[in-house]
């Protein structure tokens, strides 16, 4: 039986919409990678940027800065978001407080990053200067934590919610305490979802520029402590483009960023898939 | 009400059992009329009629098995089916005794001559008739109290039966019988034996109906 013509038109349009997404992604990736990949070399990755960002140097200190800033953000946001999610999902019932907290997380996630950056600047850089060292890895990381927190909180909460109630009942029914049930049954089951939430948050942290611009300082030297100012890759990319119009280095940096994010995505996907499979006994 | 089809099938079953009972009761009455009036033609019809009773027996058994196999009957439904299943055997046996009596009537071919008082015999006949009728009536939804009196009525029938046998044996022993009446006495001995057995089956039916209505297994002893 031939498909009706009237069926094929909407189907074709929807197919086009789906394909468009894929095409856009491929074009961006191909363009950046084709421009940037030739630049990537061991030298590029292990050499510091020139003082004035001149060509022929590398991005070593900026990679380090990205790792440090993201690390601080995750270290702060992970326990807060997972702990918060456990509290919300396991210890409170669906009530006003829970709705308010969830709404707050959503609003926080929706605040433009430049405004979060502004707050980070006023609070961490200026007000807490004696502790954070002003513009620093710490100020940048803590500011980013605000942006990671709502994302991973919401996703962790969903992951916990997806753990079947029967498992909790089963555990409690065997005389386990609530805390034992959470640590031995609920969390291991929800782990893939929780990790996904953290990875998404981490992706946000790695890619963030505006908030970093106002809080990390942008110094190109190799950092030695959390209180040193730093220039993560995104900020470096922004700087060399706007200040020196150095598109070559910008493409190279962008390629490294993209590869890093792709690598993290694929590796965690793979890890979580095999963990889920193990959980399901496949 | 749920399970309409099932409820209808149960009703059909009960109606069939009642119909079979009515048919059996009529056979009992007819054969006793034939005996009283020496109506061999009627006795022949009664014999032919037994096929109908047997047909009912098989049909109802099959209905019961279907209900048991497919409907998982419980509580009173279960008791109705179990009772029906057993009761049709009682009815079928009554039908067989009716045929036996009818055959005696046909064999004698003329009014019966007996050497003892007819009163006790008439009483026995009337009692058996009414018990058969009552047993079927209680199943059809009549007064269950009647069924409870069956044991006592059966005792009376047993007494009459023994009494008549005794009288006839005495008559024989005392040589009160002519050569002709001896064969009548023999026939009569059979007939009252059949009547007594019919009453036993009626008692069975009464007890089963008590169980069916009240679920008390005491009546099934």
């Amino acid at each position: 039986m031939a498909a009706k013509r009237s069926e094929m038109v909407p189907m074709g349009l929807l197919w086009g919409a789906g394909i468009a997404t894929l095409v856009i992604l491929i074009v961006i990736l191909a363009y950046i990678l084709s421009k940037g990949l030739p630049l990537i070399s061991w030298h590029f990755l292990t050499t510091n940027p020139g003082v004035r960002g001149q060509a022929g140097t590398g991005i070593y200190s900026t990679i380090l800065a990205t790792v440090a800033v993201t690390g601080v953000a995750l270290l702060v946001a992970a326990p807060l978001s997972v702990g918060g999610a456990i509290y919300l999902n396991e210890y409170t019932r669906e009530n006003l407080l829970r709705k308010v907290i969830r709404q707050a997380a959503e609003i926080l996630a929706g605040i433009p990053s430049i405004i979060i950056g502004l707050f980070g600047f006023l609070f961490f850089v200026i007000y807490l200067l004696p502790y954070t060292g002003g513009w620093s890895v710490l100020s940048g990381g803590l500011t980013l934590a605000f942006m990671v927190l709502p994302i991973s909180l919401r996703i962790s909460e969903e992951a916990l919610k997806a753990v079947p109630g029967e498992l909790r009942e089963g555990s409690l029914g065997l005389g386990a305490t609530k805390w034992q049930s959470i640590t031995t049954v609920v969390l291991p089951t929800a782990l893939p979802g929780i990790v996904t939430g953290l990875i998404l948050g981490m992706g946000r942290a790695i890619g963030e520029t505006a908030a970093i611009l106002l809080t990390a300082g942008g110094a190109l030297g190799v950092i030695h402590s959390l209180r040193d100012p730093a220039c993560p890759m995104t900020l470096y990319l922004y700087n060399i483009l706007t200040e020196y119009n150095d598109t070559t280095t910008a493409y190279g940096t962008a390629a490294v960023l993209i590869i890093a994010i792709l690598a993290i995505t694929f590796v965690t996907d793979w890890l979580m898939n095999s963990y889920t499979k193990k959980l399901k006994g496949l | 009400m749920a399970r309409n089809r099932y409820v209808r099938k149960l009703k059909e079953l009960r109606q069939n059992v009642v119909d079979m009972g009515v048919l059996t009761r009529r056979s009992v009455e007819d054969v006793l009329t034939a005996l009283e009036t020496s109506d061999t033609a009627l006795a022949e019809r009664v014999i032919a009629n037994d096929d109908e009773i047997d047909k009912f027996d098989r049909k109802i058994e099959s209905q019961c098995m279907t209900l048991l196999a497919l409907e998982q009957p419980m509580a009173k439904d279960l008791r109705v089916i179990a009772t029906s299943l057993k009761m049709i055997t009682d009815l079928e046996r009554i039908g067989d005794f009716v045929v036996d009596i009818a055959e005696e009537v046909v064999a004698m071919g003329k009014p019966i001559r007996i050497p003892v008082s007819a009163t006790k015999f008439d009483e026995l006949v009337a009692d058996v008739k009414s018990m058969v009728a009552d047993s079927i009536e209680t199943y059809a939804g009549g007064d269950i109290q009647k069924a409870r009196s069956f044991e006592a009525r059966d005792d009376r029938i047993d007494f009459l039966y023994k009494n008549i046998v005794e009288n006839m044996v005495n008559a024989l022993a005392q040589g009160k019988c002519s050569t002709e009446t001896v064969s009548d006495v023999a026939s009569l001995l059979y007939i009252i034996r059949y009547l007594e057995r019919i009453a036993d089956h009626a008692v069975n039916i009464g007890n089963r109906v008590c169980y069916m209505e009240e679920g008390d297994r005491r009546y099934l002893k």
Partner: protein, 253 residues
Amino acid sequence: MNNAIEISVKDLDLWFGKFQALKKISIDIPKNKVTALIGPSGCGKSTFIKTLDRMNDLVDNVKITGEVVYQGRNILDSDTDVVELRKQIGMVFQKPNPFPKSIFDNVAYGPRVHGVRKKANLNEVVERSLKAAALWEEVKDRLNESALRLSGGQQQRLCIARLLAVEPEVLLMDEPASALDPIATSKIEDLIYELKKDYTIVIVTHNMQQAARVSSNTAFFYLGELVEFASTIDLFERPRDKRTEDYVTGKFG
């Protein structure tokens, strides 16, 4: 004949908010027997069974009055050690709910949370429990495989084994076979029949034939009331209450 009472319930009322789910329930659950609870959906039988190990505590807005006396104590008292209670009164749920762990770890879960650490002891408990749940022969060579790879019926027996490992006195079963095929169901029923020698079992079931097959006594719940509690044969052959009669003959509504 052992006529001891395991759990004695008196005048139990239970409300979810304004809705009264259980009305003046009084019932003595005999020891080492299987007691079946039947009734239409929403009649309160599941709510009732959950009250026996305080699982209704997990629900919002519950108010319970009356007595549930177990081992001489009213377990509804607020100072009842719920964790200890649930060790003694275990529950098997409608849907098999093995943890996403190995078969061994599932059975060892209870003993572990109660502090058993020695591998030898755990091995012993796991083997004994799996044997008691008639699952040992099927899984003894793959104890380290995930429990989720077992069939539904095996999973349910695993959940029973998991429960037996904490050595309870009472097993509550909330429609334990309703998600299983007939063969798996009959294995569970055989198991229940075996277990009643050592345990008091209370089973909620939608399946009247199942109640008839496995239980010694049956309680019929309707609209939050305990309508009739009798020996199983009496309840199914000669119920006293019209509502029970209508329910067991399937002529409800």
